[in-house]
């Protein structure tokens, strides 16, 4: 409550200050002195954010103990990955859509992704880990990246006619990606777990990635 009131007062006090910015004489000086993100081209702003998201993807693919995923969290990466997975896993052909009454798969993947991440996060918090809610969701979301890559490979393999050998290949790829995802997320979150309860915190993460990887491997029609 206290900080809400404080916030409000701040806004109210800011009102006359806002008028000062528009004073004509000051404007040019302001522009010259400070590096302001207000005036930069939109392209630069977007590129900077895209770069930040890209480096986070790289951190996931090459997991070493790095705190950048934790400190500067964003939800862009998870959102992109989630929509990508949901779209790729949806039955694409007309016949399949007719057969499955429109296919609830998009919603299914979406719900599994976000609800799963929320459950895992709440579990970590309940076990006494010190991490903020969105930090954990960011890490869990970004760590789906290896699985997304394995999905792309699987879709490419699915173009060819299916044999047992190809299924084994797909299986191995998905299992590797699953291990990778789990390993990366535990590497990032390892400091936040209470030290003696790591197994308890890792089990839901394991289950979460297991369900996603199983969705990928059970997706057989191209």
């Amino acid at each position: 409550m206290a900080d809400v009131e404080f916030h409000d007062r701040e806004i109210m006090n800011d009102v006359p200050l806002e008028g000062d910015i528009t004073v004509p004489g000051l404007k040019t000086q302001y522009e010259d002195q400070e590096i302001s993100t207000l005036d930069e081209p939109v392209r630069e702003t977007i590129m900077r954010d895209v770069k930040a998201v890209g480096t986070k993807f790289w951190h996931v693919l090459y997991p070493k103990q790095s705190s950048s995923l934790l400190k500067e969290w964003d939800l862009w990466g998870p959102l992109i990955l989630c929509v990508f997975l949901a779209m790729m896993l949806q039955g694409s052909t007309e016949e399949l859509n007719k057969m499955r009454d429109g296919g609830p798969q998009f919603a299914e993947v979406f719900v599994i992704y976000w609800v799963g991440a929320v459950i895992v996060t709440l579990n970590i918090k309940l076990l006494g880990g010190n991490i903020s809610f969105f930090q954990s969701i960011c890490v869990l979301g970004y760590c789906v990246c290896p699985l997304a890559i394995s999905l792309i490979i699987c879709r490419i393999i699915l173009i060819a006619s299916q044999t047992t050998a190809l299924f084994v290949v797909r299986f191995i790829i998905v299992v590797i990606a699953f291990g990778w995802s789990t390993f990366a997320s535990t590497a990032f979150l390892t400091d936040c777990h209470p030290p003696n309860r790591k197994a308890l915190a890792i089990y839901p993460i394991f289950l979460f990635y297991f369900v996603i990887s199983w969705l990928i491997i059970s997706h057989t029609h191209s």
Partner: protein, 361 residues
């Protein structure tokens, strides 16, 4: 109400920066309004005292209504934020129930399948929710797996939603019912203990469903019934032992234990058959298809057989008449043997082809 007074003062301050030396707020507003449209000086000059009675009252009322509305919205928003905050803060209330060590969870999972003989001493039930929750999430994952392999279709909602709904409804619903019965029958057990106990007992369900989906052997469900009786029975017995040790009186024990066992075992049956049925249906239709396709093939074979027999018979008859010698008898035997062998080969080949097609399906 510090907020409103604050906004008031700031508003006043703003106005004072625009129009100097006016203390009446209502009048100031009018001046400001007009001043925005036209020149400053004229606005100041044109503000007559008579406006203060007509326009001024209206303006004041409008302002007050505006204030009230903003206040209302502010309060509503504040309450919403408070609610969300308290919900998030409530996590701390749940925290004691998650205070377990990995080895404790492992031991409890194992113990849920090992019933202990009830004595006069009360058996311990833990107030813990981590294990039950994880067991239920595992069960949900297994159900999803089963539904997918059974091509289960859900008309509205998702598979995930159905699995979630079924598992959590059972957990809370059954626990509430058992709690009510326990309350009526004077069993010394708390709601949280019931939740924990029933949650841990679902380990048996997980095992049975996992094995039943993995080793789906035949149509007679013998394997499943065996698992159902043994593993489901063991975990039900465990709960029965706990309840018996905490209840006095035979009929009370019977009621609570009967309810628990029925719910527990029926839920397992439901989980197996509700989402497994379709696999059987599929294999049934598949089998009947196979038979339908083989029967016409057999008929065809018979036709061919008879035709060939007729031809060979007439040919042999003709040959007999022509030659009319004992050598013809030997020829007859040789030819009929070879023809029969050929027919057998053809029939076997056709069957093999048909079987191959079926397996491709």
């Amino acid at each position: 109400m510090a907020d409103t007074s604050n906004s008031w003062s700031s508003q006043q301050g703003m106005n004072q920066s625009a129009v100097i030396n006016l203390s009446d707020v209502g009048e100031m507003e009018i001046v400001n309004d007009e001043g925005d449209q036209s020149d400053y000086e004229t606005g100041f000059a044109d503000s007559p005292k008579q406006d203060k009675n007509g326009k001024g009252v209206q303006e004041e009322a409008r302002q007050r209504i505006g204030q009230h509305v903003t206040e209302m919205f502010w309060n509503a928003g504040k309450q919403q934020a408070k609610k969300a905050w308290s919900l998030y803060g409530n996590i701390d209330i749940l925290r004691p129930y998650f205070n377990v060590e990995p080895h404790e969870v492992r031991a409890r999972l194992l113990m849920s399948l090992i019933p202990q003989k009830p004595t006069n001493e009360r058996q311990r039930v833990y107030r813990e929710l981590y294990g039950p929750l994880m067991v239920i999430f595992t069960l949900i994952a297994l159900l999803l797996f089963q539904m997918k392999t059974a091509e289960h279709k859900v008309e509205e909602g998702t598979l995930m939603g159905t699995a979630f709904g079924v598992c959590f409804t059972y957990w809370f619903g059954a626990a509430a019912l058992v709690w009510f019965l326990a309350y009526v029958c004077n069993t010394r057990i708390a709601m949280l203990q019931i939740l924990s106990m029933m949650g841990y007992s679902l380990v048996g369900h997980c095992l049975v469903l996992f094995l039943g989906t993995l080793i789906h052997t035949s149509h007679d469900h013998l394997f499943f019934y065996l698992l159902w009786a043994v593993i489901g029975g063991i975990s039900a017995l465990k709960m029965v032992c706990i309840v018996v040790s905490r209840t006095h009186g035979q009929s009370q024990r019977l009621i609570v234990c009967g309810a628990i066992v029925t719910l527990h075992l029926l839920f397992l049956l439901y989980l197996h058959f509700a989402y497994h049925q379709i696999v059987e249906d599929l294999s049934d239709t598949f089998n009947s298809d196979l038979q339908l396709k083989i029967e016409p093939a057999n008929l065809q074979n018979k036709d061919v057989n008879e035709a060939v027999k007729k031809v060979t018979f007439s040919a042999l008859h003709g040959a007999k008449q022509l030659v009319n010698s004992p050598a013809a008898e030997g020829l007859h035997k040789v030819v009929s043997k070879s023809v029969a062998g050929d027919i057998k080969h053809v029939v076997a080949d056709q069957k093999a082809m048909l079987m191959g097609n079926q397996t491709k399906f």
